[in-house]
């Protein structure tokens, strides 16, 4: 694992982010007071189930929220001396695709079907860097080589539909990295792929990170992907952070009952067959309909009165293993 000196200011610091969607029944907060940091050269995983706010968090960082339904109501997003939450659109355009790259889940819909691959990969270069066409072309070819695309000269003039899912995701990665960003946000980058192709892409992402020292935010619902690729992890539940720490801390000694439940409900290859799996009973409450107090209180087997009245804040300090649970010290097996 990479060591980062403690004194370094983080590359990205998200403070008390609140992002809300306006609906017919009023405003709902999809992200409600989320804070985390990404240190230079490290990979942060954000994990949680559908609707927990992990994708909205990512879209908030680069301000790609659906307009006008969603807006950031509060908090700060500090990235390279700039607060992205209040930045002007021109400043954001200077950063998107240049300092922050994005990799989306479904490359077939994220890539433009009517433009050639070469043109799409070169687009960020042409927008952000003052390069001649020849220079841009040679950088692009070099990048296609790096992401493991065979015969890049031919791929340049092909269209997205001519490539396989794995190849399209390699093209997405090339696009995200072409301007040498300091941060790449990957939203479920391997969810649409088969398991053997997923292994190829995860390996590629790690190689690319080792070479470039770029920071990554990896958003996924797959705890396996987090464990294999991330240094730090944020576990989200219903728009809030349930637990955060290094991958070792959170996976080896989970403190929040939700994290504990998630980790023990996954069938694994070495667990005995046809046995009852541990479950988290019930389901995530709707955003319009959040219980007061801890949002996990209707599914948690350790709920006490305090959990129904007071939301537990994250304990501890930035950089430590932190949990938002009133009772974690009692419920965590030592």
């Amino acid at each position: 694992m990479k060591q980062t000196p403690e004194t370094n200011t983080p590359l990205l610091r998200v403070e008390e982010l609140v992002t809300a969607f306006s609906t017919e029944t009023g405003q709902v907060r999809a992200v409600d007071g989320v804070s985390f940091e990404v240190a230079a050269g490290r990979t942060l995983g954000i994990v949680g189930e559908s609707g927990c706010g992990k994708t909205v968090t990512a879209l908030s960082i680069i301000q790609l929220l659906p307009y006008p339904n969603a807006s950031i109501l509060g908090g700060r997003i500090l990235f390279e001396d700039l607060d992205l939450a209040s930045a002007e659109i021109e400043e954001l355009q200077r950063i998107r695709g240049n300092r922050i790259g994005m990799i989306f889940q479904e490359p077939m819909t994220a890539l433009n079907p009517v433009h050639q691959i070469g043109r799409q990969i070169m687009e960020p270069l042409r927008l952000h860097q003052d390069l001649s066409e020849k220079e841009a072309l040679s950088i692009t070819l070099n990048m296609l080589n790096k992401v493991g695309i065979p015969s890049p000269e031919i791929i340049l003039s092909e269209y997205p539909h001519q490539l396989s899912g794995g190849m399209r995701q390699r093209v997405m990665i090339a696009m995200a990295l072409i301007c040498n960003p300091s941060l790449v946000i990957a939203d479920e980058p391997t969810t649409a792929l088969d398991v053997t192709i997923q292994a190829q892409i995860l390996e590629l992402l790690q190689d690319m990170q080792n070479q470039s020292q770029t920071s990554f935010i990896m958003i996924t619902h797959d705890l396996g992907v987090i464990a294999e690729t991330c240094d730090d992890v944020v576990v989200m539940y219903a728009g809030r952070v349930a637990e955060q720490g290094t991958v070792e801390q959170v996976f080896n000694a989970p403190r929040h009952p939700y994290t504990q439940g998630l980790l023990s409900s996954i069938p694994r290859l070495h667990t005995p067959r046809k046995t009852q799996l541990k479950t988290i009973e019930g389901m995530v409450p709707a955003l319009q309909d959040m219980p007061p107090g801890c949002r996990f209180n209707n599914r948690c087997s350790h709920t006490i009165d305090q959990c129904r009245t007071h939301y537990p804040n994250l304990d501890g300090q930035v950089g430590e293993h932190r949990t938002a649970c009133h009772r974690w010290q009692e419920v965590t097996p030592s």
Binding site: D194, V195, T196, F251, K274, L277, T279
Partner: protein, 327 residues
Amino acid sequence: MNTPLLEVNDLKVYFPVKGGILMRAKNYNKAVDGVSIHVNAGETLGLVGESGCGKSTLGKAIVRLLKPTEGQIIFDGNDISTLSASELKPIRRDIQMIFQDPGESLNSRLTVGALIGEPFEIHNLDSPESRRRKVLELLDQVGLPANAIDRYPFEFSGGQRQRIGIARAIALEPKLIICDEPVSALDVSIQSQILNLMLNLQQKMQLSYLFVAHDLAVVKHVSDRIAIMYLGHIMEIGDADEIYRDAKHPYTRALIAAIPEPDPSRRGRTKDVLQGDVPSPIDPPTGCVFHTRCAHARPQCVAEQPSLRETASSELTSHKVACHFDL
């Protein structure tokens, strides 16, 4: 030895690929190309493979939602591979299906009560009053509240809709259920609830499952035996624990190695990542269909298609592999 509940012999399902001005079949997509499997009464056979390997097509051919091109499907002693729709109707009571996306497979205009009661209606069983009572029993069995009976599918979450789909499938007390990716659209915490339900129902009702999925960890958890499929062919089939512990086929090994495990201490392990993409089933490789991605491929693999043969190590249980070599 008992005769198996389901026996599939050398099944082929080809889809014509049309082209030219006359739209004649130019070629065939060999989705299932000579598959033989069996499912014993009360057991679960897991069927694993990546997109396009033909696993869903095989499942659909067994319930006869598709007509097989060639081969036999022997269910409960009868060959059902060529039966007409009317001849199939009584057999459909015994073979049911659970689909991947319960949002799409449930008619959104019907109430849950009507959806679960539909099988009784189709097969003309019971009076309307006793149907309603049975529907209530089924709701209870799959863990849904009784008041669900007059509500519509959209009022339910994905996990609850899958429970509705399961209630429909078990309504007529079938012998075999084909489960096509039943939990892959669900969140992890819901997935385990549904898997537990399916295991409980199997025990209570002596069900047999053909469990089709891409997630080897999930399949291994619910199955007694596992078949690994690649490009229309069975690559390996055997006892679930043995497949995991002692996989013989290089593809099975690659699949197992590729699963990201939620255990950071395993991160440093060396993985043999399978290179390349799955070839097209329209123009599959010659010989062994896996040879284009196999690290052990030799000239024989290009020339000659390996047959599914019994491995040497398995004396007690059958463990077959389609590979020329003992790797």
